[in-house]
Symmetry: C2
């Protein structure tokens, strides 16, 4: 196990009706709020009205940035930053899923920065300050509600880049599983895969002696495998939505990666796909993950992949390579059972852009740590994922 | 799953040499420290000297309260409170295991209270304020380094009582597994059981639908079962000490109990034993736990106990009662394999005091939630544990 420093500063309010904590949490920081949300789903569900009524009841004034898209754009961030600066906003409140929260994070950071917020992604500027941020989560997926990371897309440069800072960690997050009842099936499936992928990227590691972290990771994988199909079949199943939502937060709040080197190669590759094609992140991960697992399997990594197969899929056998292969097959089958595509060609990716993606993904060096990947490796994974075999 | 609010405010610095964070953490709060520790073990190990040198290097002045005992006394607390009040202490630093940390917590609370600190245990006063507290942990066991609970003994009244408040949660905790290399075998064993008992008390619950919490609990139990014997056999095994230490913190920081009713009957009963006999808490738990498991097993609870046996001990079978019994047997055998006593008679408890313990334990009502226990139930568990059968 490696040394680590960890801190979980977000106050979590979890469960039915927990919106009752909203006003008290906001008023710690002020009365002028920027409300950030996506499309009309929170208006259809009544959540928007509920939030605005609370604002009225407690004398909280607000401005709005709506229309935040999946794979949120730097253009939305810029609009939000403008509003914060003009109106002396004291807290940014994100209501939605990971895209909305990520967008709100960079708005909060940009509000205290004189330059352009894209600088945080090109490493021209570091994030040392941000307005306080609160979240009302409506979708179990990214874990953004309990960490300091954000991923933003820039359509002009065709880039999708990440950044992070402890000052971006939300001060509070309200997690009411009922808000995710209305999440459509494809987003429920993609969200489940996103959670699992966060676990995988921290679980598969070259660091030895991380028994507790690995068993915790398996606990989260089992939860996704158990409840993903239930949430698809019964969107209003509170138990399924609750288990997925809490697991989503725990999967990327630092707990699983503490004390070990993490990988993130699959995420890095997927970002290049969704930078060009604007596909759902979790869908891209579902397609790539089994091909990544297959590709990285060698004599060194097979015991670890076999461990996964044994612990999570209860596959028996003594031959690591065979057990590991069976586990990868189970993983791919599970993603297909959630009605997600199994190849990049199925979702409209063009074969003549794979080289460009592999180049961009490795522009700053090799990817991963469980197994290091160079340009040619990434291209092979993309090609296999394109062909679906 | 029930609603919950959760917050983990402690900054954790984990690993070899993490004492390097000490001065920076202290100086956030001030320069006048009360150093609280137990016997001479931190002097023998060189940790005391290391801490005092850091104080000197950074201009931190300190007073000391040493001699804090296992099952820490309210008399020690009173001495510490006096020192804080007289010398305008700004931070209390506990260096040791759970007893030292618990004592330091109540000193920190007492420093801001005009009355006697025992009032916090008799419910005459609530803890609403405490001096900031930091910890350097030397023993994996109680989890006190990441929560707001404290248990203190009063020799005059022959009581051992607990209290808690979010203001008692340590601001920072330094967890260096190497500090636990010198923990003697019986304390290593008792600490491992203490961690497992914290997991059990939250794992066995009447709340349905807590899949993620239950799988996380099993992850921690497996870690204790894997590394407890290794740490006993090889006291300097870093991997074992690290996994046990981090698991000890996670086992009682709120994570496992979030969203469910917890039980704590075994702890409540054990407190009555160690209030009278001053035995090591983990030893008392090791003796009681299997008898508690046996006693609470009925048609309602057997499936849950069988789940435990299947997930943690890999026991196969379809008959819940049989599987559950096998799991309980494994648990008892495991505790014995750590060279811990298997009955209360072995450790000098007298049979004619069992009634008194059962009466005190149930003086304020029934115990537990997985299965509610009245006086007669507690007496039967104590009697079985006394006889060792």
């Amino acid at each position: 196990m490696l040394n680590f420093d960890i801190h979980f500063p977000t106050r979590i309010h979890f469960g039915r009706g927990k919106i009752e904590e909203l006003a008290r949490e906001i008023l710690v920081y002020g009365r002028r709020v920027l409300l950030v949300y996506g499309g009309g789903s929170i208006k259809r569900s009544g959540l928007y009205e509920q939030v605005v009524n609370i604002f009225d009841d407690f004398g909280i004034t607000h401005l709005e940035l709506s229309g935040v898209q999946p794979n949120p754009r730097i253009s939305s961030v810029r609009q939000g930053v403008e509003l914060c600066k003009e109106h002396e906003i004291e807290l940014v409140l994100a209501v939605g899923g990971g895209s909305t929260i990520d967008c709100a994070k960079i708005i909060a950071a940009g509000a205290g920065y004189e330059g352009d917020a894209w600088d945080f992604f090109t490493r021209r500027a570091r994030i040392n300050y941000a307005l306080p941020l609160g979240c009302i989560l409506t979708l179990a997926a990214t874990g953004s509600e309990m960490n300091g990371n954000a991923v933003i897309s820039n359509k002009e440069t065709e880039q999708k880049l990440g950044t992070g800072s402890t000052v971006l960690i939300p001060r509070f997050s309200i997690l009411d599983p009922e808000y995710s009842f209305s999440v459509p099936p494809e987003q429920t499936a993609a969200g489940t895969v996103d959670i699992m992928s966060h676990v995988f990227e921290q679980y598969f590691s070259p660091t030895p002696g991380t028994f507790i972290q690995d068993r915790l990771a398996e606990a989260m994988l089992k939860t996704c495998i158990h409840y993903g199909p239930i949430a698809l079949a019964e969107p209003d199943n509170y138990e399924a939505r609750a288990n997925l939502m809490w697991t989503g937060s725990l999967a990327l709040n630092g707990l699983l990666g503490a004390g070990k080197r993490t990988d993130w190669a699959t995420h890095d590759i997927e970002h290049e796909i969704s930078a060009l094609y604007d596909i759902t992140h979790g869908l891209g991960l579902a397609i790539l993950t089994p091909y990544w697992m297959h590709y990285v399997m060698d004599e060194v990594t097979a015991p670890r992949l076999a461990d996964y197969a044994r612990q999570v899929w209860s596959i028996e056998g003594t031959e690591d390579l065979i057990v590991a292969r069976a586990g990868i097959k189970k993983t791919a089958e599970f993603f297909r059972s959630l009605h997600l595509a199994g190849s990049l060609s199925e979702i409209g990716v063009e074969s003549d852009r794979l080289i460009e993606m592999a180049e961009k993904a490795t522009a700053h060096g090799t990817l991963g740590s469980f197994k290091k990947l160079e340009f040619s490796d990434v291209l092979k994974i993309l090609t296999n994922a394109f062909n679906g075999k």
